[in-house]
């Protein structure tokens, strides 16, 4: 059974989860700034959140009729919404990490994460006010 608190928190929970995943991906990009042939990746936040809210984040269940079919369970979370970044300037070693872009995205995503946490706190505080009646 879903309580009112659950449904009120569900949106922020999905957003927070998605932002944590995106933070991880951006950290990977920054970590691999000097790795040859590494391709920078990012999550399409808008469509991923839409997918998460309609509970379509997991991989689709596929019937495997042969032992040589790929295993869908090993796919990454939000894998359908992950894309590769477009390159501004190509580098000799095939690395597509642009540190300016990654740092900006990382800072922006941290602020969004903090905003989500603040919203959750505000929601819980008003719920508490309603419960205690004070």
């Amino acid at each position: 059974m879903k309580t009112q608190l659950d449904s009120a928190l569900q949106f922020h929970q999905s957003a927070l989860n998605l932002q944590a995943q995106r933070q991880q991906m951006l950290a990977s990009n920054i970590a691999n700034a000097d790795t040859p042939n590494y391709k920078a990746r990012d999550i399409d936040f808008r469509s991923a959140l839409k997918g998460a809210l309609s509970e379509r984040m997991g991989p689709l269940a596929l019937a495997s009729t042969s032992s040589r079919h790929l295993d869908v369970a090993e796919q990454m979370q939000f894998g359908a919404y992950v894309g590769y970044r477009r390159e501004f300037q190509s580098s000799v070693d095939g690395n597509t990490v642009n540190m300016d872009v990654e740092r900006a995205a990382f800072a922006e995503n941290s602020v969004h994460y903090e905003a989500s946490v603040t919203f959750i706190n505000g929601l819980l505080r008003s719920m508490q006010t309603a419960i205690t009646g004070q």
Partner: protein, 134 residues
Amino acid sequence: MSMFNVFAIAGSALHAQSARLNATASNLANADSVAGPDGQPYRAKQVVFTAAPVSGPNSVGVTVSNVVESAEPGRLTYDPSNPAANAEGYVEMSNVNVVEEMTNMISASRAYQNNAEVMNTARTLLQRTLQIGQ
């Protein structure tokens, strides 16, 4: 809490960059050395980075997969009084390119700083998350 993976990712990058800094320090220290313990002149060492999954495909860290020695010929200097000089009076020095090493060092320290910053941000965000509802 997937945000914990950020520590693993940034940590692997810190480790890799410090290995690179170590290699640069060895190269710079041996820029003028003539013969190593094996009687051969010192060869410049470079680390090779490879992207490596930390935990799951979403979080990609970085590891030092190999340390390669530069195949460039050593610097020849004319110094007949040196005991290591060959029949023509030339001494083979190490093949370290000091300019290259200095730029390498700056690049490694910037990357290190970036990843330390990523860790700091993740720590702040996790602290905020732990304070939800308080």
